[in-house]
């Protein structure tokens, strides 16, 4: 069990010594998760808002579908994306396999249902009272939508953090689509998988701790943004 203790020391050493391999993996993780988060938030928040705010036929079915997609296994997404962006696949000419944007496509698919479902829930949970109040104050449809979106901001932030957690920690998509290529598509999680395969458990623990540290940084920044 001494690899746990060695892992902690190793994590500190890697960070302080500026180990280029570690920093390359950290950079890859940050880049790819930022692409995926940007894409999934841009698409997911409007869709989630529509799903939670508007009443339309087939809404319950759509909700059920999104909730089911919350359980999409990452290796499965990895395989699906691989099938599309492999040179033999329909998007093969774009040369996305073994690249960070390729991984980002898969991670966007992973994050999208989380963002949609949680945004919809956040909007739904406040709708009932707010709608009545605003209507009685004479708000029109547009103002009602904007006010709802504003009031749901904390819920949406929670949705984003939740999705970010899944994207940062997934390994199936990064491994299958990225190929764990040193200096290029090796992320922290695929590096952990590799070190574990090599029997370097302490190194794996160290990288895991670094990932947690980054997650802490992101969460702390978000809570600052929230003002409290």
């Amino acid at each position: 069990m001494d690899f746990l203790y060695h892992g902690l020391l190793e994590a500190i050493r890697l960070l302080l010594s500026g180990d280029p391999e570690t920093y390359s993996a950290v950079a890859a993780t940050l880049k790819v998760s930022s692409y995926a988060m940007a894409a999934s938030l841009l698409m997911g928040i409007p869709l989630g808002f529509v799903l939670g705010h508007l009443r339309f036929p087939g809404r319950r079915q759509a909700r059920l579908a999104v909730d089911t997609l919350l359980s999409l296994p990452t290796v499965f997404i990895g395989l699906m994306v691989y099938a599309f962006i492999s040179r033999q696949g329909p998007l093969g000419h774009m040369g996305l396999l073994f690249t960070l944007p390729g991984i980002a496509i898969g991670q966007t698919l992973l994050a999208l249902p989380v963002v949609i479902a949680l945004t919809a829930t956040a909007v739904e949970s406040m709708d009932a009272n707010l709608r009545v109040t605003l209507r009685s104050l004479g708000a029109n449809r547009r103002q009602l939508m904007r006010a709802t979106l504003w009031e749901a901001r904390h819920g949406i932030l929670a949705a984003a953090l939740n999705a970010y957690g899944r994207v940062m920690t997934e390994v199936g998509i990064s491994m299958m689509v990225g190929g764990n290529i040193k200096w290029h598509t090796r992320t922290i999680t695929t590096a952990i998988a590799l070190e574990t395969n090599k029997g370097q458990f302490a190194m794996g623990i160290a990288l895991g701790l670094i990932l947690l540290l980054i997650a802490f940084g992101v969460t702390a920044a978000m809570s600052l943004l929230r003002g409290k």
Binding site: L30, K31, S34, Y35, A38, S86, R87, Q88, G89, G92, H93, G95, L97, F98, L100, P101, R153, G179, N180, I181, K182, H184, L194, T196, N197, K198, G199, Q200, L225, R226, G227
Partner: protein, 280 residues
């Protein structure tokens, strides 16, 4: 309302940050050979050692994804890599016969060994492969298999068949990990069982355990245990997008005198891991 202005500021900051990151990703990339290879060449550190020399000799970068031989061949079949460095001769020949690859050339070999607990409950030490596997099956001692369609897994299946034994896949004492070689050796150690491994990975395992390795080599040197690595260029006639010029450069280099000498000199714990045997 408190802090109404800050989310807007935060949003602008976020966009700026994203623009910075996207910008970095679009920077020009040097020409690189994309190779699919097996976990054993990566886990032992051989490729980390060879890649800089290749870059110095040819000016090209070597990039690789390390998987089992089964997936590596599949990546070649789907035109996703330029070149393969793998070790499953039968599957490789089929791959070439089907028109997926060209110029298959021998590069180097190491050998497989059967490891097990020092106490050796099935009594296989110093026996032939056929005798050892029969003894393990008769004793129903735990046997840990890669079970991942890798070159090592394929070799293991061939050894059971060559020893006139049924594949024990459904037996309770046969444990299939579906993972890499070092993980599998560690499982064998935990289960007090036997396993088949390439010598390179075993030396790595032994050095990690610093003289306290619970798994020891029990069967070695038998002719069926030879583990041959070959380089195969993905067929550019089938795959228009592969970079055969680079693939060929790598294949020629790795089988040439410089790389062959480097492979010979590659050592771990003072023990050579691979024996070069390219005939070029």
């Amino acid at each position: 309302m408190k802090g109404t202005g800050s989310p807007a500021k935060g949003f602008i900051l976020l966009i700026a940050l994203l623009a910075l990151m996207f910008g970095a990703a679009w920077a020009a990339e040097p020409q690189a050979v994309m190779m699919a290879t097996t976990t054993s060449t990566d886990d032992t550190g051989l490729l980390d050692y060879l890649a800089p020399h290749f870059k110095t000799a040819t000016g090209y970068e070597l990039r690789w994804t390390a998987t089992g031989t089964g997936k590596a061949l599949e990546l070649g079949k789907n035109c996703d890599v330029d070149v393969l460095l793998v070790h499953a001769p039968k599957a490789e020949m089929k791959f070439v016969e089907e028109g997926n690859g060209i110029n298959r050339t021998l590069v180097m070999y190491n050998d497989f060994v059967i490891t097990g607990p020092a106490a050796d409950p099935a009594g296989i030490k110093g026996k032939t492969v056929a005798e050892a596997l029969s003894a393990i099956a008769a004793k129903k001692s735990p046997f840990v298999s890669r079970g991942d369609n890798s070159g090592t897994h394929k070799m293991e299946q061939e050894l059971w068949t060559a020893s006139n034994l049924p594949l024990p896949e459904k037996e309770s004492w046969y444990i299939s990990t579906g993972q890499g070689m070092l993980v599998t050796i560690n499982v064998a150690a935990e289960k007090n069982g036997y396993t088949l491994t390439d010598r390179g990975t075993y030396i790595k395992y032994e050095s990690d355990k610093a003289g306290k390795a619970p798994q020891v080599i029990l069967v070695e040197g038998d002719a069926p245990l030879l583990n041959q690595y070959s380089v195969i260029e993905v067929n550019p006639k089938r795959c228009a997008k592969v970079n055969n010029m680079l693939a060929h450069q790598f294949a020629v280099w790795v089988t040439g005198p410089q790389a062959q000498k480097l492979i010979q000199e590659f050592k771990l714990m003072g023990k050579p891991l691979f024996t070069p045997n390219a005939k070029r």
